[in-house]
Subunit: 126 residues, 2 copies
DNA sequence: GGTATCGCTTTCCTAAAGTATAGCGGTATA
DNA sequence: TATACCGCTATACTTTAGGAAAGCGATACC
């Protein structure tokens, strides 16, 4: 990450096949986890405690069951959230952030920090 | 950003219209700046110094002039990059990151950090 | 029996993002 | 004169993300 400080050692004239490409991959992975219209809101919702499907949907206006279902699956696959089935009658299902999911906190914090500065800048420039 | 620590004070049962929605906006702004197929690579490329249009294109395989042009414009609009016209003959044009653009560094660093851990985790789980 | 809630899935559709290809005005180079 | 590089733009197309609507199996409630 010294790249941005003009560290010429690691990035010779073309980027492909160099260390640069390698460093891009994890950054893109992280971005993938967070991008999309609903992921962040769902993560945020779950960060306040375990929730049921409909409960999440109610909390996030505009979110369709299809999207919610899809996003929850992805969160699960990535180990960020967990689906818990309780054998009550009828079965109730709850989703919650895993402790791994909570490790996103500093990252989201950094996004928030930069985004806030950016907002101010945009508004100031108008 | 204490949300993830289960801070119930700020986020009552539904998220819309609360502090939560407000905090989402800057995060989304930041995400917007970075997401898309090419933005990151372009920023990274420019982080190694000023570059010309074709030069950037050559460094990033698959990047079409249309996309590059579009992304550079967005970077400029957002104050992250600058377009400099030099009146050599023929005119040469260079793009470079503004100092503001360089403030993305810690954010990208955080993305890289989390993404790297995530990669390891994914690989380990297979 | 009728209606409602839960946790989804399915199908179809639209809008936005991205790709492929061509071209243009300018300059230089052989 | 022909060819090539530069910095793009324009047009047309494909691919992906997301939305809208319906429905399904199970249970429960009146």
């Amino acid at each position: 990450m010294e790249a941005i400080e003009h560290d010429k050692r690691k990035c010779p004239s073309h980027l492909s096949g160099t260390e640069c490409t390698k460093m891009l991959l994890p950054v893109k992975d992280a971005l993938d986890i967070l991008s999309g219209k609903w992921k962040l809101q769902i993560i945020l919702s779950l960060s306040f405690g375990k929730k049921r499907f409909k409960q999440i949907q109610r909390e996030i206006p505009g979110l369709t069951p299809k999207m919610l279902s899809k996003e929850l699956k992805e969160l699960e696959i990535n180990g960020l959230a967990e689906r818990r089935v309780y054998d009550t009658l009828p079965v109730s299902i709850e989703y919650e952030l895993t402790s791994y999911g909570k490790t996103l906190q500093p990252l989201i914090g950094e996004l928030h920090k930069w985004g806030t500065k950016h907002r101010k800048r945009i508004i100031a420039r108008k």
